[in-house]
Symmetry: C2
Subunit: 598 residues, 2 copies
């Protein structure tokens, strides 16, 4: 399988040189997070991911999670790795010190999360879901709930889940059937079936804290009648430790295309004791507060799988000897040239590299926004960050997961027939990557969220919040000696972006289906423009460093060259999306079911 | 899993109404292949595929082929299905009557092959490889070899393989290491290891006839020293039946992403008795004579997986209730609307449908060319068909397999989370589809073959052979009341196609890497234009039928609407490919290995 090597230099390039994390950390009062400490943490994290998690990735895929009589066994080594993770203090890295966390910035935790998911996506699901539950309890739980559950979750002795989906509904949560009946003691009896519950049951922790969406018997119809409940696997005794088993059990686990070591559970709630968290009938709002975080995390999965695939493909392209370069032998002493000499192999590698690094820039910028939005003392900055977050989050989730799927598929292709063989580990990366465009809100739903709710819903304001930044960057570099052409290309797309929204907005006033018809192409167009913006920003920094005579010549030159490739060979995809979405909805909506069927 | 229903109406539309197979069948002397007989054969074939093969598809994936002590057991039911296939006379449908075949047109066999691979891709590999071996022996074998091997292969008592790849080479066959040492009796002792040998070992037939590429000890270096040998699993006795075991054995089988029921074997040849087929050192030429056929077959796999996925996704989109249409409830009596009301779900379904049906048209046109090229008494027609075949074959192989991968991924996406679960069968289709862009020459190799060998190698003549047809179609319909806009769109792309080739040709004279840098984008551009041509042709026929008052109104309307969708929402992808390839090779070739690595 492809050995994973954490791309620390690339990560630090973004954190320190492009986005100036240190300034943000100082501004939000994360005084402990000095560059030195951050560096030490990243290196330790890299060691753990490379040496402990990565070696369990292939075996985890082969073994899978196993269900038997309601219990789930994770693959060999998973439990021990989790103990080591907890022991190392990784779980509470960015959590509230009031409940045992270390209070470091969440952008730093996300960088650790990148390495975790790139080394072993399935394993990363267990702490990942736990962090989701922790955020919800931190934002909406009572002080007692925080003391009872959050402290244990932060400590890593207990893990968490999010229970939303039911057999008949995923996107459409308004029609959930799980019921919560109020009890005399103030608790609720929760009954129903939830599916696709990641980490719903496993052998890695003492207790599992489920956050469950359910409706009271007399709740209003639709999404306005949904409440959120804490339902622990084991009830908690007066001493704060696990007591008797609660009425919740794992009925089975799914057999899936990928992330096989992540247990995807059917959870049965049978008059399980639950506790309301947050306000009654405001359960969906409670969920949404953690959506930005979770969706960025899912977007990062795309990058992680793409990065691991790139590393494998690059190694293979340098090793595999096959055919001669058309411009003459490059390794005349060998029976053939390494395939990296062939232009089409380079096209594939550079497509992966330019998408990966562009996505990483988008992800790291967004993570910085999360820190600012949550912790900046400056209200104006918080608001600005919130606006950008609202706009960028669906792009992170959908664009980065599409890019990850493409990158992992290209990585297989570089390997030729060997890419299709399990032993090499390349096909696992594609299977693992394939879930990301689906879960945490399908990419179609993200696209509707972006275009409908965010962009049109704000009368274009949220788009302008970002495109103003693009405009400024272009304006400042319009006459740049090296990047003039790229700046002009980006400035033009930026302008078209706004015009496009106006056109869709006008059309949508007459016909609401125009939004759904344009949404995915709009999201993809947006993603390519956003990445172009960040590529230009990275190239400007790299150019500056080279001008200053940096000793890391190859590193910065590589940024310039990859930027050039992105603008020349990837960014033109925007043209196809523009033309497609301009075609409108009629050519889709005119068909009856009968027309589809024949 | 998605039930497969053979799309007989669509197939007949192409065979009878668009491409006039009956006229071709008459011209090539296939007098038995009357429309009535063809109809009966297709219906029987559909029954076999729907009722016998399709039910074994999921179980075949779960069980996989199993290797033990050199023997391979195929999944439950595979052997019996093969016996039924042979019994039904399907194996020799298009084979030479002189050796026991039925002599029907190979385009008809390909239509049967479509249903086989759509119902069960893995199972279809066993007869598929056999047909490859049969073609080679028919074209290059001696009369004695034909009597000995071809008759048994045609009968279906024996099966065949193609042994090309070795651990260190796939594309680069010039460096194979398998050796064939001449023996006193005129045979050869063949020794070496071949990998990725589909159907190399299994339990479905009495004997397996391997066609093996190997080199004589004193052979010229490179591809000019490769010869082709027949190496049977069991030697053949004087009575023509199997005798003692030959020195060939299956060392193991691969564990793969998909087509798990197809045994992909490591074959060890240890002084195995082999017989030269064709001329010495001309082995690669012998292989190439059957490439057109095999590559069309692989292209068809893309369509087959895409078609099966479309059928599943359409059924789900009609059944699954989720959210309300933005233009108001469409199923007010139900808790939510079926998801087919949502524009983005339609976008996905129509992308699948327009790619599938466009690819089928390309495949059926190409199959017709094969019949003409092999069997037409008119030399001019044969030559014209050969030229078109040379041009279209790499497009069939590469474009149709890319389209198949996209379609199967979209089919999963329509299912949301359920698409990722094995039980539903949608993810298997994507896993099965993923091999097709790799094997039978990677799509990168196909693209080089198209642009380098075929188009530039013929000074543009082979492109003109097709684009002249596009030009004529556009010219004849330039003022068409309904399709004027589409005709103009296609005519413009057709012109740009030629200009593009001139530009690449000019650039390639200075730098041969320009071909490799442009090739995949050129192939994809070509594929979209070719499909547009066929979509226009199909729409013209449908329009005509509607004008004549056909009773199949929905069928023909659907063709018009899908054509409209294709031109409006898929064909614009050409813009991205045009721009990308115009960027040239510098932005890829300037990087050193060091730049890739950081």
């Amino acid at each position: 399988m492809p050995d994973y090597k954490a791309p620390l230099r690339d990560m630090r390039f973004l954190m320190d040189e492009v986005f100036d994390y240190p300034a943000t950390y100082a501004a939000i009062g994360a005084v402990d997070a000095t560059p030195d400490l951050v560096g030490a943490i990243l290196e330790e994290g890299a060691k753990f991911c490379e040496q402990v998690l990565a070696p369990l990735n292939r075996s985890g895929d082969e073994e899978g999670a196993v269900w038997k009589d309601g219990e789930v066994t994770t693959p060999k080594g998973f439990k021990e790795a989790f103990a080591q993770y907890v022991e190392g203090g990784w779980n509470g890295l960015a959590s509230d010190p009031a409940y045992g966390g270390q209070g470091l910035p969440s952008s730093l935790a996300m960088a650790i999360g990148e390495m975790v998911a790139a080394a072993n996506t399935s394993w990363g699901m267990y702490p990942g879901l736990t962090h989701g539950a922790m955020s919800a309890i931190h934002a909406h739980g009572s002080e007692e709930q925080k003391q009872t559950y959050l402290t244990k979750l932060t400590e890593g002795r207990w893990t968490g889940t999010m229970c939303l989906t039911e057999p008949h509904c995923g996107t459409d949560l308004g029609i959930i059937k799980t019921r919560a009946v109020p009890q005399a003691d103030g608790s609720y009896a929760v009954s129903g079936t939830k599916i696709f519950i990641s980490a719903g049951e496993h052998d890695m922790s003492e207790n599992i804290v489920h956050l469950v969406l359910a409706k009271l018997p007399d709740a209003p119809a639709g999404t306005k009648g949904i409440s959120l409940f804490i339902v622990p696997k084991f009830n908690v005794g007066a001493d704060g430790e696990v007591a008797e088993r609660n009425g919740v059990s794992c009925g089975s686990i799914e057999h899936k295309m990928g992330i096989k070591a992540s247990a995807t559970c059917v959870m049965n709630f049978d008059s399980a004791k639950g506790f309301l968290i947050g306000e009654l009938n405001k359960g969906l709002n409670c969920m949404f507060t953690m959506m930005n975080h979770a969706r960025l995390g899912t977007g990062m999965q795309g990058l992680c799988n793409g990065e691991a695939s790139y590393q494998g493909a690059l190694r293979y392209a340098n090793d595999r000897l096959q055919m001669r370069s058309l411009t003459g032998p490059k390794a005349p002493d060998k029976p053939a040239d390494p395939i990296i000499v062939h232009p089409d192999v380079r096209r594939m590698l550079l497509t992966m590299k330019s998408l990966n690094e562009g996505c990483r820039a988008l992800g790291y910028f967004t993570a910085q926004l999360l820190d600012i939005a949550h912790r900046s003392p400056d209200e104006e900055k918080r608001e600005e960050a919130e606006g950008l977050l609202a706009f960028l989050t669906p792009i992170c989730k959908a664009f980065m997961t599409e890019a990850g799927l493409e990158a992992t598929s290209l990585g297989m292709q570089v390997f030729g027939g060997h890419g299709y063989i399990r032993e090499w580990g390349m096909e696992q990366l594609m299977r693992d990557a394939r879930i990301a465009p689906i879960y945490e809100g399908t990419n179609g739903i993200q696209a509707l969220d972006l275009l409908g709710r965010k962009v049109l819903g704000s009368q274009g304001k949220l788009l302008r919040g970002f495109s103003k930044r693009v405009h400024k960057l272009c304006e400042a570099n319009a006459e740049h000696g090296k990047f003039k052409a790229q700046v002009a290309q980006l400035a033009k797309l930026n302008q078209q972006w706004g015009e496009m929204v106006q056109q869709i907005g006008m059309a949508a006033m007459k016909n609401p289906d125009e939004v759904g018809a344009a949404s995915v192409d709009f999201l993809m167009f947006s993603g390519y423009v956003v990445l172009a913006h960040f590529w230009l920003q990275m190239a400007l920094v790299a150019e500056q460093k080279l001008a200053e005579g940096s000793s890391e010549k190859a590193f910065y030159e590589s940024k310039l060259m990859t930027c050039e490739f992105y603008f020349k060979r990837i960014l033109p995809r925007t043209a196809a999306h523009q033309l497609a979405l301009a075609a409108g909805s009629d050519c889709m909506m005119q068909m009856t079911p009968e027309h589809f069927a024949v």
